[in-house]
């Protein structure tokens, strides 16, 4: 595979990635915390209340970023899963499997905060609306991937089998994303657009964009921590891990 840049090849070596992720994780988390502080100050303090929903709309600053992350993490997991199935690269298997709990966490947050937002604005905690239902299916997909992975005795075999399930589940992503256009039910349509004008005021919009960036940094920090730890288990027979256990395991 000559087309892979040299630095990528080196980074995919477990001891190199372990060190790299250990250095990067606090930086990613630091940026995430800083951006969260800025975003929530803008969203909870500076932004005016919504003319229809009052202050209940402020749930948007965690609900929408989490919902976006629930899809984003699945996308990353699918790319890593594809690489794991085709090229059997150890790091890709780890990234795919360690993405699942992070994605499940964001999906869970999306469903709970959505429920807490739905009650005061729609008058119901839950409804079998297309967006809500497909998001729930996404949570089950994440849990299914975690379950299948742990059902195998051999970690690497389990990772490849679960990666296959990840690839099958990709069909759910466009369903979640376009559900508000395909079926006009209770959940509102898109308000934030990357291209073209958003249908939300600037004062309310910028904190939302900051929060979306904050959750990206958080995701990077979380993935670094999880993959790093996972590599220790995978390579527990290797010298670099044994040396580390000698120094830090007492």
């Amino acid at each position: 595979m000559k087309w892979i840049p040299r630095w990528m090849h080196e980074l995919s070596s477990p001891p190199v990635f372990y060190r790299f992720a250990g250095v990067m994780r606090p930086w990613f988390m630091g940026f995430a915390l800083l951006l969260t502080a800025i975003g929530l100050y803008g969203g909870l303090v500076l932004a005016p209340p919504d003319y229809q929903q009052g202050d209940a709309f402020r749930i948007i600053y965690i609900h929408v970023p989490s919902a976006e992350m629930s899809l984003f993490v699945y996308g990353v997991m699918a790319i890593a899963g594809f690489i794991a199935v085709v090229w059997r690269i150890k790091l890709a298997e780890s990234v795919a499997m360690q993405s699942a709990p992070i994605g499940a966490a964001f999906t869970f947050i999306t469903l709970v905060t959505g429920s807490l937002w739905g009650e005061p604005t729609w008058g119901t905690w839950w409804t079998w609306d297309a967006r809500l239902t497909s998001e729930l299916v996404l949570l089950f997909l994440y849990l299914g991937v975690i379950g299948l992975f742990h059902a195998f005795e051999d970690r690497r075999q389990g990772a490849r089998a679960a990666s296959f399930l990840v690839l099958v589940g990709v069909v759910n992503l466009p369903i979640v994303h376009y559900s508000v256009q395909w079926w006009h039910t209770l959940h509102q349509g898109t308000t934030v657009r990357l291209f073209g004008p958003s249908s939300i005021e600037g004062d309310m919009l910028w904190p939302l964009l900051v929060m979306m960036l904050a959750t990206k940094f958080y995701w990077a920090a979380s993935l670094c921590g999880r993959v790093r730890t996972d590599l220790l288990s995978i390579d527990s027979g290797k010298h670099w891990v044994r040396d580390l256990a000698d120094r830090e395991g007492r």
Binding site: V45, D55, A105, T113, E119, T229
Partner: protein, 77 residues
């Protein structure tokens, strides 16, 4: 300040939502920290046991009785 905490009467919805967000992500962030410590401790303990077993085996005279003893000990441990 009280008006801020009241969230225009929606405090019962807004604050629990934020609490869930922070608690779930904090748990997600800390999980690998504890897991990593656990993995390294476990491996260190296993290496110590291996080392002790190796030392015992090296220090043992090659007598059939003690060999049988060592094998019995090895299989029961």
């Amino acid at each position: 300040m009280l008006a801020f905490l009241d969230m225009g009467g929606y405090a019962a919805y807004v604050w629990p939502a934020y609490a869930v967000f922070f608690i779930v992500l904090l748990a997600d962030y800390l999980a690998p920290v504890f897991r990593r410590r656990h993995v390294l401790r476990e491996l260190h303990a296993r290496m110590q046991r291996q080392k002790a077993r190796q030392a015992r085996r090296d220090g043992m005279p090659t007598h059939t009785d003690t060999d049988a003893h060592a094998i019995r000990e090895h299989t029961t441990s």
